[in-house]
Symmetry: none
Subunit: 123 residues, 4 copies
DNA sequence: GTGGTCTAGACCACA
DNA sequence: GTGGTCTAGACCACA
């Protein structure tokens, strides 16, 4: 379910955070479902448990997971996550528009490109 | 001319690389003009000369600066840089479109936001 | 495995880059095998870790090594490296042919020499 | 007569040494003809006289130029220079053959390439 | 443990 | 003066 690219420059714990977020967004991990335990996921991915723990801690701090003592980690509210991610996308878009304008890209060219990308099939 | 954020997670040498790229893109540093020397910029920014050297070396490898031994560093072809940066912006845009689609953002909403950002004044 | 000439005009980090490239070409360092750590190689060669780091960084930029944060450096695709090196040899050969022609060396003499060198045993 | 590439990584004094050698090899500077003075060449090329002096000193040490006190620098024996350059070309060729063999290039491929380069027009 | 960044300071080649 | 290399040593993120 979670695939890690060990050759990536992105830290493993960040990759786990993002993969879990995506699984929640896509509904594969529904709200209040139980996450695999730190140990079992560490074994499954052949990763140091400290690294899994770090990812879970971050997800908990973000309010995306919640911990029940003695029972484990559970998926929180997915709407919150989706709203936050949408905002992040728009924030990035704003930055990108600025960069593009500095480079002399016209609004029309930018929109044309965007529509182009929108039409493409995604794998 | 170059402002460094010492608190940033982004390494100092990367900040310098990006600031110099921007100054070239904006035409503030025209082609074939001489860059400040490694030592003088180090003093000006209160940074170790090695760090400046690292930034200049990267800019040289990217073909953005060229070095004349014993004379200094000079600005190279700015068109090359701008073309590369434009491509980078479009690549980022494509990624962003994919992210947005996964989050259920509609094409129309995306374009509306983009037009909004385009109208804003920039500092 | 790696021998450095401290008297050479060639910088130490370049010597390391070339030695590593040769060990990969010869198959002594197979793809995906782990490189010695920056620190251990520094101790082994009695060289400052920063210098090893510089060599490894260059090899990574060339796509010859890949780095996994917190784990180490690993050998990448050797075919890519070999193809690039072959091209470099032919490019040098072309330059050499031009130089030879300017000096009045005949094509026949050049080929005779080349065949001679080819027959020699190499250590 | 001498063209310097100020953007080259090759030091200017080395460029001068090589250009002068080439002019002698091609017979443009015949034996016993007088070289331009350090000062006049410095003015002509807009270069620091120290740099010209360094080039001339090297050429004298190589026996390619000779100095007559109070009169200036003169071109020496060109045969000596040509013989030495030929040897240098063959030495480089030997190194190249070794590199090629290590890379798995066949003798036939190497000779074929060489003949190819030999046929090409030169500018 | 691993690599990555940075400082302080030295010494070199080159112009 | 200019850039380039190297050492010694510190501190950080990551696994």
């Amino acid at each position: 379910m979670i695939v890690i690219d060990y050759q990536s420059r992105q830290p493993i714990y960040e990759q786990i955070v993002e993969r879990v977020q995506m699984l929640i967004i896509k509904g594969i991990l529904p709200p209040d479902s139980q996450m695999p335990s730190v140990r079992s996921l560490a074994v499954e991915l052949s990763i140091n448990p400290n690294t899994i723990q770090k990812a879970y801690t971050i997800l908990e701090q973000q309010g995306i997971l919640y911990t029940v003592k003695g029972r484990g980690n559970f998926v929180g509210d997915s709407e919150l996550l989706i709203a936050r991610k949408k905002q992040a996308v728009f924030d990035e878009l704003e930055l990108l528009v600025r960069k593009g304008r500095d480079l002399g890209i016209s609004k029309e060219e930018c929109i044309r490109q965007m529509e182009l990308y929108w039409k493409e099939e995604t794998s």
